[in-house]
């Protein structure tokens, strides 16, 4: 194709401009000329002018005045003008411009043109910048083109349909049948377009996904053809036959096989074949292998295949090519939670990647290493991570430091190791740690009282070496203040003690106070530490007094206030000084971490959320009432409302079995319906389990049409009632022994709170807690009767809910 001379001359002129100013001048002149040309009517050089304008646009200059020209040129009968016009439309117009609507008609006409190249121009433009309205208008046309005989047009129409589906999801229905028939094409381009279209349709609509699941055998067949076929010069890339199509088919298989056993089974063999037969020496082969691995890990594949996939990733990790190592780590990151053991096998390689030159690879390796830390490998992993921390790029330091802290907290083999690790991190990356590290570390130190001596020695030594890392200095000052006496005593079991005099300690603290590197917060720490030492040392109290009084006139307000107050402590309140400055008590841990996790696990045991299915009657085996009735034999333990925590609420049939075993019971009370509303029925039956035990069984059933969700049962015992109960009991016990009164009126009040939600029915108050108040009493020796029950709204102020 002959080059456009006017265009090339202009480009040459622009490039030969020596300064930005000169270039702007040239461009302004050219744009003026172009504008003038546009105003004239049809002349032979319209396409050249528009091309010039597009070049100017690419350099970053405004070119909006060319939009109407694009519209006009698209409507022109000449192919050269149409071509440049459509190109201009794709570059200058987008759906936000009003002018884009004007080309809809031209596109429509061109879609039915006799010349396939003109049709393809229209299709290309529609697929590139078609707005939602345009798509709606032209969708039937595209559907017609999908069924044409020309494969050139069919493949373009398929991708155009993809764009339409992305813009207007509802139109997907229109293309389903055409897409299905396209799968039987032989032409790779059309096949590729069809696969992309089907993938798009399946992802957006679950029903369509179901329909296309039936095509899995066909896709497997096509894929097999590609993998086993011989050399095809048309599509071969470095020994792999049409890798683009292969990858697309694998992706579609992934979508179809996800969460579906049958589909996944149908593709197992194929995936294994692809995984083993593909040549992995070149990037193409690796691209196909990578896609295969992603597919295997995403569908319900059998375990052998999964192992194969993880092994492929492991091989990738050892590859010389950095790109392949990078993607291997990205994929391993995704499966490290589910296939943890498989990934652990490659831990060595991953840790080696921490030393890689490339920043992206380092980042991935860090994330993966942190995910692989476990109790068994914590020591070795931490060594590697600490080495990494000292040499890692700045942007990764914060992430590495916090990751190390979390890992150390979770898996620390010993307290001393934990403290050592944190100190190490503070010395290497103290500037990048989070703010709460200092209080966390202080709390950790106070909690390990046996290591106070060791800690303070280590920190003192660290302080002498380097006072620039603020977090470290803060912790060190605090420790010296608290445990200065241990430091001065000069003996330590864990580490070699250093002979420290009081002057040395005070010198160190004064250096911190005076150094320009110390932040105001750090100075505060140092001043307080100096003050605390006044009760822990004997000789240099005067020196401390003088230090403190100097800072009474410090510019920093915080320091000045502290100094003044400490001064006052010396002068007027000297008698209180020892008491004020004594050792800190152990700080209660209330941060998030293991404690709260344990607590939440226990909570989950007690509150069971269950799903009530229709017609499903299951047994809620209830807390042992026996604990309360144990009191009959005397108050043995402190009266905790000890109902619910004793027994986890289970919903399995095993519980039913247990209860049925109670058929050996002597006494039984009849089942009473105690709650009936919205189709939910609650019945209660009591069985005497043992002499001192009573089992109350609550049975819940759903007889409504809809499902009930979030069914919760909570039980509570009024605390007040309980204590009254005890004294009453004692009295009654005495009376029984005396034989003066019969046992009667021993009421046990049980408060039940039911919460449930009925789906599909909007009932008022259906989801607010409905409460039951059950009152039992024991008559005679063994039988417990239900005295009464009533339904009323929950009053949480009166009761203590046991959770």
């Amino acid at each position: 194709m002959s080059p456009s001379v006017p265009l090339q001359e202009m480009i040459r002129a622009i490039r030969s401009a020596r300064t930005q100013c000169e270039e702007r001048g040239v461009i302004q002149r050219e744009c003026a000329a172009i504008r003038a040309q546009f105003r004239q009517n049809d002349n032979g050089s319209r396409s050249h002018n528009l091309a010039k304008l597009l070049y100017v646009h690419m350099l970053g200059y405004p070119a909006h005045f060319g939009q109407m020209e694009c519209v006009r040129m698209i409507a022109s009968p000449r192919y050269s003008e149409k071509r440049v016009g459509y190109l201009g439309a794709m570059m200058l117009l987008d759906e936000k411009q009003d002018a884009s609507l004007l080309i809809t008609n031209s596109i429509k006409n061109d879609l039915s043109h006799s010349n396939q190249y003109i049709q393809s121009l229209a299709l290309c433009t529609l697929a590139c910048m078609g707005s939602a309205e345009m798509c709606r208008d032209l969708a039937p046309e595209i559907d017609r083109l999908l069924r044409s005989a020309n494969s050139y047009i069919k493949k373009k129409a398929a991708l155009c349909a993809v764009h339409i589906v992305r813009k207007v999801q509802d139109l997907g229905e229109l293309f389903v049948s055409a897409a299905r028939s396209l799968l039987s094409e032989k032409n790779h381009g059309v096949l590729h377009g069809a696969v992309v279209l089907i993938t798009e349709l399946c992802e957006r609509n679950p029903e369509t996904l179901e329909r296309f699941r039936k095509t899995v055998p066909d896709l497997v067949q096509i894929m097999k053809g590609l993998v086993i076929s011989g050399y095809s010069p048309d599509h071969d890339v470095a020994g792999v036959s049409d890798p683009f199509l292969q990858v697309r088919i694998l992706r579609l298989l992934r979508v179809l096989g996800r969460n579906n056993e049958t589909a996944s089974d149908a593709m197992n063999d194929l995936l294994a074949q692809v995984a083993t037969n593909t040549d992995s020496t070149k990037t193409v082969g690796n691209a196909v292998l990578y896609e295969t691995v992603l597919t295997v890990l995403d569908i319900k594949s059998e375990s052998g295949l999964r192992v194969l996939a993880v092994n492929i990733l492991g091989r990738f990790l050892l590859n010389n090519d950095r790109n392949i190592r990078y993607i291997a780590m990205t994929s391993l990151q995704k499966i490290v939670v589910t296939d943890h053991n498989a990934v652990q096998r490659h831990r060595g390689t991953i840790v080696d990647c921490l030393k890689d030159q490339d920043a992206s690879v380092k980042r991935r390796a860090l994330e993966l290493s942190l995910a692989l830390v476990s109790a068994s490998n914590i020591r070795s992993m931490m060594k590697e991570l600490l080495v990494f921390l000292s040499s890692c790029p700045l942007e990764l330091k914060a992430q590495a430091a916090s990751g190390i802290f979390i890992a150390a907290e979770r898996y620390a083999p010993s307290q001393r190791w934990h403290i050592d690790t944190i100190l190490h991190v503070l010395t290497t990356a103290g500037g990048d740690v989070r703010d709460e590290t200092v209080p966390n570390l202080i709390q950790l130190i106070t909690n390990t009282s046996e290591l106070h001596c060791y800690t303070v020695h280590k920190l003192y030594r660290a302080l002498l070496e380097d006072i620039s890392q603020q977090s470290l200095v803060q912790v060190a000052c605090w420790c010296i203040g608290e445990y200065g006496d241990l430091l001065l005593r000069g003996e330590c079991q864990e580490t070699e003690p250093v002979q420290v005099t009081e002057d040395d300690v005070l010198d160190a603290l004064e250096t911190v106070l005076q150094s320009h590197m110390s932040s105001p917060a750090t100075r505060g720490f140092a001043l307080t530490a100096t003050m605390k030492l006044s009760t822990r040392i004997s000789d240099n109290v005067d020196r401390i007094r003088s230090i403190v009084s100097i800072y009474g006139s410090c510019i920093d307000l915080e320091l000045q206030q502290r100094a003044v107050e400490y001064n006052a402590l010396f002068k007027k309140y000297d008698h209180m000084r020892a008491a004020v400055l004594e050792r800190m008590p152990v700080i209660q841990r209330n941060s998030s971490g293991q404690n709260s996790e344990d607590a939440s696990e226990e909570t989950i045991k007690e509150i069971q959320v269950t799903k009530v299915k229709q017609e499903d009657v299951f047994l809620l085996s209830v807390f042992q009432v026996c604990d309360l009735l144990d009191l009959l034999s005397g108050p043995q333990e402190p009266l905790q409302p000890s109902l619910a925590p004793a027994q986890p609420i289970s919903t399995t049939t095993a519980a039913g079995g247990d209860l049925l075993d109670l058929l050996g019971l002597i006494y039984r009370s009849p089942t009473v319906t105690i709650y009936e509303k919205h189709g939910v029925t609650l019945t209660l039956g009591c069985e005497q389990e043992s002499d001192s035990g009573l089992l109350a069984t609550l049975t819940a059933s759903n007889s409504s049409d809809s499902d009930i969700s979030s069914f919760t049962l909570q039980a509570a015992v009024p605390k007040v009632r309980l204590s009254v109960f005890v004294s009453e009991l004692e009295q009654i016990m005495r009376n029984i022994k005396d034989g003066s009164i019969g046992v009667d009126g021993l009421s046990l009040n049980l408060f039940l709170i039911l919460k449930y939600e009925i789906t599909g029915i909007n009932r008022e108050g259906a989801s607010t807690p409905n409460s039951l108040f059950l009152s039992f009493f024991k008559s005679g020796h063994d039988v417990l009767h239900l005295r009464s029950f009533s339904l009323f709204r929950c009053r949480t102020d009166l009761i203590e809910v046991i959770t």
């Binding site: 480009i11 597009l54 290309c124 381009g189 950095r322 030159q357």
Partner: protein
């Protein structure tokens, strides 16, 4: 002297409501070592200001990379795959689910097509014949997806379109008498 041009193809992934598997290309940028833009193809609707911002950021990020680092970058929620061919950087922005190795292959395929068309393509070819570079791209990629996987077919189509243009031009420029 053969100058290999790097093609960055930005493949924008389609983010669907369900878990997205298909990846779409978002943009394809070609720029020189000095940061001058030689080709830009956008596969999604984006305002001019956004485009300029992306171009600026891509140029800065890619040009700052060390010579032997990996070809993949993470930028916001997109993956950037770039490759350098002689004096041109090809930069492809794809969505998170795309296969990066395949994106490298896409870039390479485009370079091969340009090479076949121009015969030992160099940066100057692309500067002076940018509209043809676009036409070739439009025969290879469409709507952010590959439309033709066979090199020969793409070349044949380009040649045929060129023939069509020439014949029509010749026809049109013939004098009326």
């Amino acid at each position: 002297m053969r100058v290999r041009v790097c093609v960055c193809v930005c493949v924008r992934a389609c983010v669907c409501v369900c878990v997205c598997v298909c990846c779409q290309m978002r943009f394809l940028l070609l720029f020189s070592r000095q940061g001058k833009l030689r080709l830009q193809k956008w596969f999604t609707a984006m305002s001019d200001r956004e485009r300029k911002k992306i171009i600026r950021e891509m140029t800065t990020m890619v040009l700052a990379r060390q010579p032997r680092s990996s070809n993949f970058l993470q930028w916001k929620d997109l993956k950037i795959i770039y490759k350098r061919y002689a004096s041109l950087y090809f930069c492809l922005g794809v969505e998170a689910q795309e296969n990066e190795l395949l994106a490298l292959e896409i870039i390479h395929r485009y370079v091969e097509l340009l090479d076949k068309y121009f015969g030992n393509v160099c940066e100057l070819d692309i500067i002076f014949n940018f509209e043809k570079a676009y036409f070739i791209l439009d025969e290879f990629l469409m709507g952010g997806e590959i439309q033709e996987t066979s090199k020969q077919t793409v070349n044949r189509c380009i040649e045929a379109s060129d023939m069509l243009q020439e014949t029509m031009e010749e026809y049109m420029s013939k004098p009326a008498f």
